[in-house]
């Protein structure tokens, strides 16, 4: 049982999903490719934590819809109370930012502008999803025992993070621009 396994269980306890859906919606709190997810779902099924049914589709490939079992629920609930291992973040951009003094203003500005674009798209997506949730569930989102609570607080966290990233990039850009002006006087 690795972290990804618990991540899958925590999504499936809210609603039954296909591996394809899990791959897409996992992004908020974990990242994994389908090549890691499909074998793991099979493993969890063998361990009696999941079951699945086929849904036949014409024109599209058949779906395998996975559902969590009582055993899966138990295993997940017990795990939540254990101490989480420290967060790991690996971001190539930060290496480049650290070494940004080696390059020219144009290259530096381009890097930061692309970073802004990248996060701006995330912000738009995030705001849309938050608005959808608030419209659909309203005050119920602030009930810690409701199944949408976790997703809601995570999206709020991510939005702040993404907005701060853009602000920070703009701050750095302002320094870069300011410096270029001074140099050309």
């Amino acid at each position: 049982m690795n972290s990804l396994a618990y991540a899958l269980l925590s999504m499936l306890i809210r609603k039954s999903c296909t591996g394809y859906e899990l791959t897409q919606f996992l992004e908020t709190f974990w990242q994994a490719k389908h090549s890691q997810i499909y074998p793991l779902l099979k493993k969890l099924e063998n361990a009696d934590m999941l079951t699945f049914v086929y849904e036949h589709q014409t024109a599209k490939p058949d779906k395998k819809i996975y559902t969590i079992t009582p055993k899966g629920k138990e295993v997940l609930s017990e795990w939540i109370a254990t101490k989480p291992s420290p967060p790991v973040s690996r971001d190539e951009f930060l290496i480049k930012a650290y070494a940004i003094w080696l390059t020219d203003t144009e290259t530096a500005s381009e890097l930061f502008n692309e970073r802004i674009d990248f996060y701006q798209k995330k912000i738009d997506f995030r705001k849309e999803k938050i608005a959808e949730m608030e419209l659909a569930y309203g005050q119920q989102l602030l009930d810690p025992t409701a199944s949408h609570f976790g997703r809601y607080i995570l999206f709020k966290r991510k939005l702040k993070l993404e907005q701060d990233e853009v602000e920070w990039c703009q701050w750095v850009l302002s320094i870069l621009v300011n410096n270029t002006e001074q140099a050309s006087i």
Copy 2:
């Protein structure tokens, strides 16, 4: 050449270091254990991007002090201008936060309180380092061509991130507490 290799080069271009030092100071923008770093330093040395000298120490093991070569500098500089791959973050706590509705208020509060402690320590450390930098280099930190610039902007970013994390945890805790009160009336 993987991301870690560039992370090592970007540290070594600022000043020569031992593998041990690199392991410690890398934390801001990458994470790696010494078992990954030592073999990679050897590999970079074989590729003529690094050189090293032994520093004999009595009572402590000998040090290998690595220095970047002109080739290493060139390879690093060229890499900076290339498009960075998207950030990857894996945080077990977020899985637990997502599934927090499954547990009781006490367990949930403990998780969030421990998270606050974890980040508060980081904030203290970060503030100390920023203060040190500002004292030592002052306005020079805002010069994008100075070697401290990258480190400074990264620390500023990290501090904000860590402070926001604590604020968010406190917001969630306030919801949890508020809800417990209502339930017990």
